[in-house]
């Protein structure tokens, strides 16, 4: 039994940099795992506008430190809520090439010019959030659990999410898609089903009714067409109560991953700043309506051709 070594670290920091590198990596990994989980869960608690400090009045200067802590915690939620929504709203890509099967697989509509946002109703109130996740409006609406009314069918916590564009001049939310209805996710449903569900549910709830005490903003549907020649023309030239921005196309498959955003191409007669910037970044010109119409014609030409050649020789 030899004497025991009693040397201690001398003039050395308590934690080596290597240890720090390991720990920081572990922290980063844990953070990313949390982020991935959040995304998967579509965290319902973030839908609650009461966790977001923005619509609250300025704090009283006489606040006790305890209350300040609470506000601090809720601020974190707000930031995380913004982050989360920012992730969900993906920018559509500019359409550069004409996809195959355009008339069969795609829908088209003229997108209103305005602020793209998610409208979320839950717990007796409604919140709209912009692309970057920040809050646009906080208001009562006829959406399920969207206002504090006695007559609320289903659970008060049930929530719904609509994909909208807020059109400033007529103060209207134009609904272009439905993400969630009474907590039922429509992510995995076909576009056809979503458009059907959207129009029937909005009618059911009276969302498109004129504004009232419990329904501050007007909501309206955007007409959607099959992406054939007639549909494209209707979307492009048809009369709508709003200023058109671009034509937006959606494939009719499901939108199960946010990696596959809808495709957009520009109107030939309008030059919007957004569009110009996008063109610059994409370093390609978006397709013009003429190109698209031409391609549909050639597609239908192909369809008319006999698909098989009989060999007789």
């Amino acid at each position: 039994m030899a004497p025991h070594d009693l040397r201690r670290p001398f003039k050395r920091a308590a934690i080596s940099d290597q240890q720090r590198r390991r720990e920081l990596s572990l922290q980063r990994q844990a953070q990313h795992r949390r982020d991935a989980q959040h995304q998967a869960r579509c965290l319902a608690s973030f839908l609650n506008p009461h966790s977001d400090p923005e619509p609250e009045p300025e704090p009283e200067p006489t606040d006790s430190p305890k209350e300040l802590d609470v506000r601090h915690a809720s601020k974190l939620k707000g930031a995380e809520a913004r982050k989360w929504f920012a992730r969900q709203l993906m920018l559509p890509e500019w359409m550069i090439d004409v996809p195959d099967q355009l008339p069969q697989d795609w829908y088209v509509f003229a997108r209103p010019a305005g602020k793209r946002c998610f409208v979320v109703s839950s717990n007796g109130t409604t919140v709209s959030r912009l692309r970057n996740g920040s809050m646009l409006h906080h208001f009562p609406s006829a959406l399920p659990s969207g206002a504090r009314t006695k007559d609320s069918s289903g659970s008060a916590q049930s929530y719904s999410i609509l994909d909208c564009i807020f059109h400033e001049s007529d103060q209207t939310y134009y609904v272009i898609d439905m993400v969630c209805w009474r907590e039922y996710s429509l992510y995995d449903c076909t576009a056809e089903f979503r458009f059907f569900w959207l129009s029937s549910k909005l009618a059911e709830t009276g969302l498109c009714d004129p504004p009232s005490q419990y329904h501050r903003y007007r909501f309206s549907l955007v007409p959607v067409y099959n992406c054939d020649q007639a549909g494209l023309s209707a979307a492009y030239t048809g009369e709508v109560p709003y200023v058109k921005d671009v034509l937006e196309l959606q494939d009719n498959g499901n939108l199960s991953t946010s990696d596959d955003p809808p495709v957009v191409f520009g109107c030939s007669d309008r030059a919007f700043i957004e569009q110009v910037m996008f063109q610059y970044m994409a370093q390609h010109s978006p397709l013009r309506i003429d190109d698209l119409l031409a391609s549909i014609n050639s597609l239908s030409d192909q369809e008319n051709k006999p698909s098989d050649v009989e060999m007789v020789g």
């Binding site: 039994m1 004497p3 025991h4 009693l6 040397r7 201690r8 001398f10 003039k11 920091a13 080596s16 940099d17 290597q18 590198r21 390991r22 920081l24 990596s25 572990l26 980063r28 990994q29 990313h32 795992r33 991935a36 989980q37 998967a40 869960r41 965290l43 319902a44 608690s45 609650n48 915690a73 974190l76 939620k77 289903g154 659970s155 916590q157 049930s158 929530y159 907590e183 996710s185 992510y187 995995d188 199960s256």
Partner: protein
């Protein structure tokens, strides 16, 4: 390590290698050793003669002879273990044999019973247990008989072997007569027998856990040991053996330390032994005191005054090995009190906590002057010697611990010493004063220290440039580092670094980085903490104007000819890392410029061919530093979108370099390179897929590295990074990864700390590949279930085990989370329904245990939500019946931890939806 031990270790290593599957040597040149029971006695006797010669040959200076002998021994062991062990024990017991062959026989015998590596150890124990009992009895008889030998080396070796066998057999209630027979030896006249017996008891206490020996026998052992230590024992060898035995037996003495009379007796004998005329006995007695200070801290109040007197005398007058132990006693008391006071400061649970007796605070007026005196006993050039440990170093270290224990109270006791000595012409005095100052910077409040530091800072900066003595400069640079570490940063109210002195500080530090290696290394360290203090400083850093200059100076240091001395190169790269971590957007482009520079350096390490093992080790170390640095840079640049975008231009080249770093080792992967790849995968996202075909084999290699379990753990983390980067593109690799992970979980060779992250990794994979995880369910789920059952209860576990259990629970829960979320909205969701009951029961049982930490709580309530979210009405009734969905959920909803609360709110929504349908 003696030559003889090296040789015997070599054997165990070799036989170890055989087990991993190396082909058996086909050499047939040795045939003499084919012993068996069927061989007539006379032949065996001859064999025994052969054994002696072979054991002697195994220690020959002639390499060929040695090799030949080693091979023979190995073959003998493999071909007939019982006769092999019998021959060795016979050799050890035989007083007619040369001491060298007896000693080696004993050591080989010992190595046939125990190994450092757990798996090997288990095998050896098994082979002993299954040995014929007559053979075992004969071996034990030989060993006990050896304790009476006149040859002390033989006795001592036998002691160790007996203890190893006791370590195997006593827990299984075998060899009950051992302790009885040892105790009967104690009363023998011959001092050599008493000495060997006490030594055996000491080793036995080291090998055997206290709970396998009954209190009655413990009492007898302690009585024998303490009697042997008593001054009435006339033989110093016996007294020394007894004192060393007590050191190991202290862990058995809990009952005896609770009995006032017995404790008084033990303490009196130990304290008397510290006054023995024999230095080794004094040293061993102080070792006992050090051990008592941590094991029986709460029982010391009665003796602390006497112990202070004894230690003070030893520190001032005794030989260094004794004085070092005496200082260590006080360092150890500091460790105890720091732990207790930390517990007081934290959430005070109070139930089993040991109270603080404030021994250090009480001893302070006498203790501090004693320690300050030691500071003046420096050795020349101690800073250049890595292994140095002397009384000045021990005293200074203890002073630092005292400062952490008592805080502000130490300052007025040390300041006069500093003021008196810091300007003296003798370097020892200046160094001691500086060291004293540096030592007390952690512990006292910034309020107390800041005014002093403000005055001292200018003095220190001047000393670092002007003092003629390297030792003084080394300590000065270290002290500056401590100033920045503890008194500079966003949490300190009145900053000691201002616009006025920042420039001067940096100039002095960069200048010092050109000094001799040990001073330059400390200057790098000071810069490290200077940068760290500016980490939370907001969008603009005071270091920005100097950034380029600092980086350049650090890179220059890494190229110094003498950068391998005093770990200078390591310090320079580590400081570069911290400077990068703490940099702001203002200097992002300069950080980006570092990428090609570090890549070039890494490239250079790959050029050398046919390296010697020393060169290979240096290469590997340098690659570690460079990969570490790149990892820090990637993580920094990857954390914001614009810089990530700019960085991506280098991704292909970096990955190519990493693959080459991996390729230059045959069997292992480089931990730092693996960590760096994790950071790269995160930064590149889905594009990482293109690297997978080439990288995959190294990933697998990393997962198979059980021996360097850190590498395995890091690789498991990287699998998670890759899952998140590739999502379902990882699918083609999942069969291989899952197979390896499942193997790792069921291995008893893999360090347990790697297992929780492996479970978490299941979750990462499931989340990435969704319902494709289906084919792994039948393997992963039973494993998760059995681990869950294991980790559900912790009753009777110590703190370490509770921590481990919680990390295991967290891993299991993260796996469930990932699996549920991965299957969400898939038609295959129904596959998970059969597991719901078990998972809810698991949640209920860990809730009932009331010992989960915040992390587990958050993950657990999340799983509750995930289960409800994915299974919906299919699990509605089960959820409603579970305790978790009520009491546990309510507890989480009212938690102060916002992460727990957030997960709980989500779970509540998911549950309400599941049960409302």
């Amino acid at each position: 390590m003696s030559q003889i031990e090296e040789i015997s270790n070599l054997f165990s290593l070799k036989s170890n290698a055989m087990n991993i599957g190396a082909p058996l040597s086909s050499s047939r040149s040795v045939t003499v050793l084919l012993l068996s029971h069927s061989i007539p006695w006379t032949t065996r006797y001859n064999m025994a003669m052969e054994v002696t010669q072979i054991l002697l040959n195994a220690q020959s200076i002639d390499g060929n002879v040695r090799k030949h002998a080693e091979d023979s021994i190995k073959q003998f062991q493999e071909q007939n273990l019982p006769s092999f062990l019998l021959s060795l024990s016979g050799e050890l017991a035989n007083d007619d044999k040369p001491v060298e062959s007896r000693k080696l026989a004993g050591l080989i015998l010992k190595n046939a019973l125990d190994a450092k590596e757990q798996h090997r150890k288990f095998e050896l124990v098994q082979s002993w247990v299954t040995l014929d009992s007559a053979v075992k009895a004969q071996i034990k008889t030989c060993l006990l008989q050896t304790l009476s030998s006149a040859v002390s080396d033989a006795r001592s070796t036998a002691s160790q072997v007996i203890a190893k066998i006791a370590g195997i057999e006593l827990p299984q209630k075998q060899w009950p007569e051992l302790i009885v027979s040892l105790l009967s030896n104690i009363h023998q006249q011959a001092p050599n027998v008493r000495q060997a017996t006490l030594e055996t008891l000491g080793y036995l206490c080291e090998e055997v856990s206290p709970n396998v020996v009954d209190q009655d026998q413990v009492n007898k052992i302690l009585t024998a040991v303490v009697q042997g230590m008593n001054a009435s024992e006339g033989n110093n060898d016996v007294r020394l053996a007894a004192t060393r035995a007590l050191y190991n037996a202290l862990g058995f003495a809990h009952a005896n330390f609770s009995n006032d009379m017995e404790r008084d007796y033990i303490m009196r004998v130990v304290c008397e032994a510290t006054l023995s005329p024999e230095v080794k006995i004094r040293q061993a007695a102080f070792e006992c005191l050090v051990s008592i200070s941590s094991t029986y801290y709460e029982k010391l109040a009665h003796y602390i005054q006497d112990i202070f007197n004894i230690t003070a005398k030893a520190v001032r007058e005794d030989e260094e090995p004794v004085a070092l132990q005496a200082i260590e006693f006080w360092s150890s008391i500091c460790d105890e009190e720091i732990d207790i006071l930390e517990d007081y400061g934290g959430d005070f649970t109070g139930d089993s906590a040991i109270p603080c007796f404030y021994f250090i605070k009480q001893a302070l007026p006498a203790l501090v002057p004693m320690l300050l005196e030691t500071l003046l006993k420096q050795e020349e050039d101690q800073d250049q010697d890595e292994g140095a440990w002397n009384i000045a170093m021990a005293g200074g270290t203890c002073l630092g611990l005292v400062a952490r224990t008592v805080g502000d109270d130490i300052v007025p006791l040390v300041m006069p010493f500093i003021e008196e000595n810091i300007t003296k012409p003798e370097w020892r005095q200046r160094e001691a004063a500086t060291y004293a100052f540096g030592s007390i910077l952690e512990g006292p409040s910034p309020d107390k220290l800041t005014p002093i530091v403000n005055v001292a800072l200018t003095f220190m900066l001047t000393a670092l440039t002007k003092d003629p003595n390297n030792h003084v400069k080394d300590t000065t640079a270290w002290t500056l580092g401590r100033i920045f570490e503890f008194l500079h940063g966003s949490t300190i109210d009145s900053p000691i670094i201002t616009q006025a002195n920042c420039q001067q500080i940096i100039t002095v530090l960069l200048q010092s980085m050109k000094d001799v290696p040990n001073v330059a290394e400390k200057a790098c360290g000071a810069l490290y903490f200077l940068a760290q203090g500016f980490e939370e400083g907001g969008p603009s850093s005071p270091l920005t104007p100097f950034f380029q200059e600092i980086v350049q100076a650090l890179l220059t240091v890494t190229h110094r000819e003498d950068a391998s001395e005093s770990r200078l190169r390591t310090a320079a790269y580590e400081t570069l890392n911290e400077v990068v971590r703490c940099s702001t957007d203002e200097t992002a482009t300069m950080v980006l410029h570092l990428v090609p520079i570090i890549m070039t350096e890494l490239h250079k390490t790959l050029e050398g061919q046919k390296l010697s093992s020393d060169e290979r080790e240096r290469q590997s170390e340098l690659q570690g530093l460079l990969c570490g640095c790149l990892q820090v840079i990637i993580q920094k640049l990857g954390s914001s979108e614009p810089t990530k975008y700019l960085f991506m231009q280098y991704a292909d080249q970096i990955m190519e370099l990493y693959l080459r770093v991996f390729a230059c080792r045959s069997a292992t992967v480089h931990e730092e390179a693996m960590l760096a790849i994790g950071a790269l995968a995160y930064a590149t996202g889905p594009d990482f897929a293109k690297y997978m075909p080439e990288f995959y084999k190294y990933l697998e290699m990393g997962l198979q590295n059980f021996e360097e379990y850190q590498v395995c753990a890091v690789t498991v983390g990287v699998v998670g990074d890759i899952c998140r980067a590739l999502e379902d593109q990882i699918l083609p690799y999942c069969d291989g990864i899952m197979t390896q992970l499942l193997k790792n979980l069921s291995s008893n060779q893999l360090h347990r700390s790697v297992k929780p992250p492996i479970f978490s990794c299941f979750g990462d994979i499931a989340l990435a590949i969704g319902e494709n995880f289906e084919k792994y369910l039948m393997y992963a789920m039973p494993m998760l279930q059995s681990a869950a059952e294991l980790s559900a209860h912790t009753s009777g576990a110590d703190d370490d085990l509770v921590d481990y259990t919680n990390s295991l629970r967290n891993g299991i829960l993260e796996a469930y989370s990932g699996i549920f979320q991965g299957f969400k909205n898939s038609p295959k969701t129904q596959l998970l329904i059969p597991f719901a009951l078990h998972i809810l029961q698991f949640l209920d049982s860990i809730y009932m245990e009331k010992d989960m930490d915040d992390v587990v709580m958050k993950t657990a309530v999340g799983v509750l939500g995930d289960l409800a979210d994915t299974l919906g009405s299919n699990a509605g009734t089960l959820i409603q019946q579970s305790l978790s969905s009520k009491d546990f959920l309510d507890e989480c909803l009212s938690s102060d931890d916002h992460l727990i609360k957030e997960s709980a709110e989500w779970a509540k929504l998911a549950i309400s939806r599941a049960i409302s349908v």
